[in-house]
């Protein structure tokens, strides 16, 4: 066989060569998609043969057609855009404020002493419990949704940033000072980059929470947006539409997660593989 002809280079001489070794090849990439397809086929067949009423559990094929119809005739794209806008505006706000405050808390003992108690008090409050208050302050428009999204995302970013800054290797700071780094340079070129992987972990959590918060908020108060459409469909027992919107949310989730994985690999590219 051809395997006998393969030349496997000793690892020591080629530390950075691309993985050519058979054992390093990713041969499980198709497991996930195939499992999903199998699951959908089972669902389709089970519902058809079991005569389950559509109002309880529509077939996957009907869900897909409904989703298409919603995009084609009910302007679902506008709702999707609106929801994404709310999620990402709030998420961005949480990221900027969270990283900024976190850097400050992680490096200033005085500021940390002040802010720590506030964080400890606010962090465990279920952010969704702030909904009535936020409605009183911001109404039910975009400002309210963005505030909800930002509040949900703020703490994971903030807390991870503080942790990331604190766990910075003291030796790296000494080495930088030895080479003549100023206090500001130590922050910018050592502490912040050392915290990036941890901060990135916080951002991942934050985006997930922002999505939950915005959809939940829309279900409560909004007329437009995916959460609002989901709630409205449920109230008139349009189970097909409910599933279609859930499917769309799942697709959005998969896309965002995969994008984060890619970005995460880039951020962590220096880690030895």
């Amino acid at each position: 066989m051809t395997e006998a002809n393969q030349v496997i280079l000793p690892a020591a001489e080629t530390p950075k060569s691309p993985p050519t070794d058979e054992r390093l090849r990713n041969d499980t990439w198709w497991y996930g998609p195939v499992a999903i397809i199998a699951f959908l086929v089972f669902w389709e067949v089970a519902v058809r043969s079991g005569n389950v009423p559509e109002i309880f559990l529509p077939r996957p094929s009907i869900v897909v057609v409904t989703l298409y119809d919603l995009f084609a005739y009910k302007h679902l794209l506008d709702d999707l855009g609106l929801t994404l806008f709310r999620i990402f505006s709030g998420f961005l706000l949480a990221a900027v404020v969270g990283v900024g405050l976190g850097l400050f808390m992680g490096t200033s003992r005085r500021f940390n002493a002040i802010a720590d108690t506030f964080v400890a008090a606010l962090y465990p409050v279920p952010k969704i419990a702030l909904l009535p208050l936020l409605v009183i302050w911001f109404g039910t428009g975009n400002a309210f949704m963005i505030a909800l999204s930002a509040l949900g995302g703020l703490f994971p970013v903030l807390i991870n940033t503080v942790v990331g800054v604190r766990q910075c290797d003291e030796g790296l700071i000494l080495a930088a000072r030895d080479l003549g780094a100023s206090a500001a340079q130590v922050q910018r070129k050592i502490v912040l980059p050392a915290a990036v992987p941890t901060i990135f972990g916080g951002l991942r959590l934050a985006l997930g929470i922002s999505i939950i918060m915005v959809v939940a908020g829309e279900m409560q108060t909004a007329r437009y947006g995916l959460g609002a459409k989901l709630e409205q469909a449920g109230q008139v027992l349009e189970t097909g539409q409910v599933f279609a919107i859930l499917l769309l949310l799942a697709i959005v989730g998969v896309i965002l997660t995969k994008a984060q994985d890619r970005l995460g690999n880039f951020v962590d590219r220096w880690r030895a593989k």
């Binding site: 530390p15 290797d169 030796g171 000494l174 080495a175 080479l179 050592i190 980059p193 220096w270 880690r271």
Partner: protein, 271 residues
């Protein structure tokens, strides 16, 4: 910086003491009344039992830790015997734990100090490339530290210090984290490098052989609180070669240093 007509002569430590404060323990005295001189152009080794404050002494000389008492002076002479106290010369440190920035490539690690001083990219890269060549790491410029062996990492650490063209090079247990063969090889490399450059070197180590092999002088320290037990000259010619370890002078000095350290090591283990 030395002004015109004056030359860096020595680092002089005078009556240096250092205490570490601790929240729930009485303060520890790391160094007690240390007075010693590190002449320029020479390699001075510091040996002592672990915890004797030799690394702390290095951090204090380097200006990274402020001593509780005493002074570090940088002496300059004009050739006629007059000595004046001046500003610190250019200094760089090589660390036992390497302390390379893991998210930067070899090139960007070596160029880091020059980058901090605001040198333009092309210029600092050219200088860094020279330093990388000097430690025999050409071809690894774009590797990350995580992809290198311990010996290679420490050569990056050495290049990162050398690229700053320091007058004084501090080596804090530079080969302590390496295996025996790598250690020997790097000791030889370092010895050659030091002999050709004429730099002032302060080497902190717990290896007596290393202290003798690389040093012109050996300072022996006591267990905590660290004091100077003795300052000894190394009666071996340069360039140093590995087979000098078989010479009687080497063995005699080793025995003398170990004799001084033996009791201190025992004490440090009881601490």
């Amino acid at each position: 910086m030395s002004s015109l007509g004056t030359r860096f002569e020595a680092i002089s430590i005078e009556g240096l003491s250092h205490r570490f404060l601790s929240r729930n323990k009485p303060p520890t005295t790391a160094l007690a009344d240390v007075s010693v001189r590190f002449p320029s152009g020479k390699v001075t080794s510091i040996v002592g039992p672990s915890g004797c404050g030799k690394s702390t002494l290095l951090l204090i000389m380097r200006g990274l830790v402020k001593a509780t008492d005493g002074q570090v002076r940088f002496l300059y002479g004009n050739g006629s015997g007059d000595v004046t106290v001046g500003d610190a010369p250019r200094m760089a440190t090589v660390w036992q734990a390497f302390n390379l920035l893991p998210w930067r490539t070899v090139m960007d690690n070596v160029a880091f100090g020059l980058e901090l001083s605001g040198m333009p990219t092309a210029e600092r890269r050219a200088k860094a490339a020279d330093a990388i060549r000097a430690v025999e790491l050409s071809g690894f410029e774009n590797h990350y530290p995580g992809q290198l062996s311990g010996g290679m990492k420490q050569r990056v650490g050495l290049a990162r210090g050398l690229v700053m063209s320091p007058d004084v090079l501090f080596l804090d247990e530079p080969f302590g984290a390496l295996d025996a063969q790598t250690r020997l090889y790097l000791q030889e490399q370092l010895s050659t490098l030091v002999e050709s450059s004429g730099k002032t070197v302060v080497l902190v180590t717990h290896s007596i052989e290393e202290a003798i092999f690389l040093g012109d002088h050996v300072i022996v320290m006591t267990a905590r609180p660290g004091r100077v037990a003795a300052t000894l000259d190394v009666p071996l010619p340069r360039p140093r070669t590995l087979d000098m370890q078989k010479e009687p002078a080497f063995g005699d000095l080793f025995t003398e240093i170990y004799g001084l350290l033996r009791e201190e090591v025992r004490k440090s283990m009881l601490n």
